[in-house]
Symmetry: D2
Subunit: 347 residues, 4 copies
């Protein structure tokens, strides 16, 4: 008998991507999809593209009973909802990979400050394991609760980890200029994400304060072994999938362009899902669409001294559902790439 998994909140984009990946996964069976709005309808009612792919599945309301039959549950619920549901699931003996923001921050006060409400399960914050395999692999297999990273933080942390870990860059002068496709904003209709509003237009948003900032600072400070701050600016692209983060770092001591690249190559030695590009090539989102890859490139500007790191990933895959499946593979002791070997789709 195979492992049975479920998706809580399966009618949004992240839920749909989880369904796409899990129904073709060789080691597990997708046995549960929940949605309050679509309860009773087949998966294809929300996702016509999956007709015939996962035929029998119907949405159910999320109940303790429904959840019980699963070995692992993916939480694709909104933040705040997630922290009200997860404790019960854990108490019932289940393992949870939570894709909301609710269990990523270690400090309940930081959560309250950035999310504007008190955390309802602060005791779980310490137990939750931050699920970014390339930076935290050892801790994941034994976890009951995995906090799946945010899409922006995944890109930024992969971009900066080699350099902050090495203590090679000024921790007070990190500038991150990120651009995201609109699928990152979720499936709920809003004026700002209408086609006619976004098409042929580009804008920044939440320039002064975006909730992914403390997550990046927490994880990179941990890697650096000392506190660092990040000037983070998110932008909305007129495209569906993809995040490109352009990161500016000021070296503490001079290195050649080749040495900066070498630092990165060595750091990601053996990682399947991180592709460090050859010198002279630049990361872009088109090359990772639909896949679990994160592409990285490093450039040095000798005129101004800045090092420029580019990180590109698909926000719904490596930035969400794909990384969650990678975490599941680790929990189950499967090959980390199981179910994630689809090549990117281009053009």
């Amino acid at each position: 008998m195979g492992v049975r998994v479920g998706i809580l909140g399966a009618s949004g984009y992240t839920g749909g991507e989880l369904a796409r990946l899990l129904c073709r996964h060789p080691g597990v069976e997708l046995g549960l999809i929940t949605s309050e709005r679509n309860a009773g309808k087949p998966l294809s009612a929300a996702f016509p593209h999956l007709r015939g792919v996962a035929e029998g599945l119907r949405f159910q309301k999320l109940t303790a009973e429904a959840a019980q039959g699963c070995d692992i549950l993916f939480g694709a619920l909104p933040h705040k909802v997630s922290m009200s549901v997860v404790p019960g699931l854990l108490a019932a003996g289940q393992r949870v990979i939570d894709l909301s923001a609710d269990f990523r921050l270690k400090d309940a006060a930081v959560y309250a400050d950035w999310y504007g409400l008190p955390h309802q399960a602060p005791d779980l914050l310490k137990e939750a394991v931050y699920g970014q395999p390339e930076l935290n692999r050892a801790a994941i297999p034994g976890a009951r609760l995995v906090a799946n990273p945010g899409c922006y933080p995944t890109s930024v942390q992969l971009a900066l980890a080699p350099f902050v870990r090495a203590g090679a860059v000024d921790e007070r002068l990190i500038v991150v200029d990120s651009k995201s496709g609109v699928s990152g904003a979720g499936r709920s209709p809003s004026e700002g994400t209408q086609f006619a509003e976004l098409s042929d237009g580009f804008r920044a948003y939440k320039v002064e304060r975006h909730r992914h900032t403390p997550e990046m600072e927490q994880e990179l400070s941990r890697l650096a072994g000392r506190p660092l701050t990040i000037r983070f600016t998110p932008h909305l692209l007129p495209q569906v999938r993809g995040i490109l983060s352009t990161c500016y770092l000021m070296p503490k001591e001079p290195r050649s362009a080749a040495q900066w690249r070498e630092l990165m190559v060595e750091f990601y030695q053996g990682e399947t899902f991180v592709r460090v590009l050859p010198a002279g090539e630049l990361a872009g989102t088109a090359a990772v669409r639909g896949s679990n890859y994160c592409d990285l490139s490093v450039s040095l500007d000798p005129r101004t001294g800045w090092v420029v790191v580019l990180a590109a990933l698909d926000n719904l895959v490596k930035g969400a559902a794909g990384q969650a499946v990678q975490n599941m593979n680790l929990l189950l002791g499967l090959p980390e790439t199981a179910g994630l070997t689809q090549a990117p789709l281009f053009p």
Copy 2:
């Protein structure tokens, strides 16, 4: 020892899709990719998205020697070039799945009329097997030369086959209004396919005469058992992938909407890659992106009498590379779905 396959003309979009599908195919090994322009470079020089997916492969020039090591060759060369190359490959004992237009028409005079040049290998036109598995499956396994259908014709033939085969519609009043994503125009740069020219714009082209018309008429006349003509209008969509063909048919005798749909459902009984949608749902290209599915829907307009059939497919997959792999599976006696089980990508 596995089966070894090669792609001739592998640096265009169709070639890239063949590479994407074949390098993840469980039953064959991709051993050859040719490109005059990129000879010597790795696959990722033309397709950065495939970096790490098919690592060792390098483009070669197309020579008899290079081709020899392969059991099956996919021809993704331009028409005219194809008919100059294929005879030699067959003579050398290879099997060829040709994705150009050169071997689709049975009549060399029709070819000369629509393509504006005499056919160079007219003897092969009779031997070539038209590779649309759902409509011509029995003939494919034994073929030396498979002519892979055009993208528009695949959609139109799947849409109309059940009705013309049944003799249910007026053969002189068939109107087909097709819309294609721009990847169908190939990868060679031209002013008309520049982003700035196409974006937020829509237009028809080749309204009076498009080369896919005789292909549709040939195949559907064969199915109908009598000659038919099609009024075919292609349009260019501001999108990358996808063809939607809206087909207007005038019934010879009245049937209910349910009966029209039933005709189609029965015709495609058991076909994995044709999804006949439930009554009330309409085919669209977003639901088939990146997959080998063709979605079909049927509507009846009781006011005017017209039956409206919609067919949606991904022009690079079911309309080209995916169907070619389906044909290869038939040639090799593999399960017809091998290597083609990727779910569509949405959003």
Copy 3:
């Protein structure tokens, strides 16, 4: 003292286009914009692009008092709301150009059938003048109530008028395949018009029954002098602005391609906003973006006998706000092109 005009329901896309055109119009002053949702806010709160263009204007709630100061009112309210408001405005002595569907149909029973509710001001249906200047110019100047045509009907009627008026085509075999940019669906958020749902995808909708059908049939039957039916299929394009209607007509008697084109050229002699393209060129939406032009082209398919007419316009301008301003110019005795001479925007 200039003429003072107002826009009722000014925070949607049609309202925004009216504001854009009217605040640069040489003969009128935009003195009122209403919006229940935005009352009290400046125009730029809904339309940041108009900041500095129409600086002092603030949205008001729609009241009889607010409306009173205007000589002409543009109704950009939803259908059903419009027919509840317009009678009062007329009673108060104002002239109204209504952009909703409420006063376009002459027959209250047809309205009830297609809109699913009884008409609340059936007496006004006869008085209302259908505001398509090229086809109904003489009736407009004296009107109290102008019913501004729908976007699809404007394109279809301009495409077909020369041929149905001449009695040159079979009235029972008219097929119209229309494609519209998504701004035609309005500004209210819905899942189906989200960027991530629409981008790189194309689909038909309301295939069996779209409310613009009776409007086209009414106007074209009037021109033809006998009843005709239209098989009309609307589609949604992944673009913001533009409608292309591809129309299929079956000649009653043979004519050459040049003669078909000549019929059209003569019909539109002297019309500024209709551009009949030279033989060999095809109408597309990119050439009319942001302008009040409708581009037309005619092709003949000698193989099948069909005549194919293409009509391209900007659904928000010639299909809505621009045509409304054209009607206003006629009401006021101004040059018909006043305020409408902006060249299209390309690329």
Copy 4:
């Protein structure tokens, strides 16, 4: 008799925009358009959208004779070609507004370094007037040769001018992350600007060295009164029009957010084409499409100390043709806004 103007190299996107603006300009007559490729054809052969707008105009080859009849010539030729043509025009007594990069840099050695070839008319570099009216207005009216600024530099210089002029920010820590629509790459077909390559994708380019960098540094150093360096990263957006530059500045001394904004408001007091947004609103490209506006916003990040300035403009208008017309108005003593009052187009 009106002023007669001409466009040299009129078949690219910048040339098309100049034609669009000039043929509706109240104070000049567009009398000449040149194109080697399209000589003899009407303007609408290259720009179908301008059919009927500038009817009689036909492209000519560029000759001294053809140019002679014009009072002012707009050079929309490629760099290098421009510097070979402009000296002759000046010698013949004409005034030139040059939109190429050839006369923007003051130092021929810097030109040779960044453009990779020696300057052919170094004597003119001193005479040429840098045509950014908001920053250099006084010098323009008397010029024989106006060097029209680059698209990126226009945005960056407007964003930074108030702060570097005030000496308020660290001149060695300026980071500019710019994103441009693809029309900035011109109309010549290339693989990288094909629709299928760009759509739903985003990437950086020329990260280590982009030719607009020395232009920005020259102009901003001049304003600052001391040398400054800029870390400049250009990116390519999947959209046609629009540049958004996100600029990071490190204050020399603390100021409140309101004070930073006030600095900018005062600096641009009275400028029609610069819109400093209210606190809390962020500049985006959708609000300036098709217009000569540049929108600016300022934010302060108290956590990290960085000031973030956003500048949005339409690269073909304020970044090219619109600014050139603004310069022409200054040369002719016309109101600076003549022919530039079109409202932006949204959506």
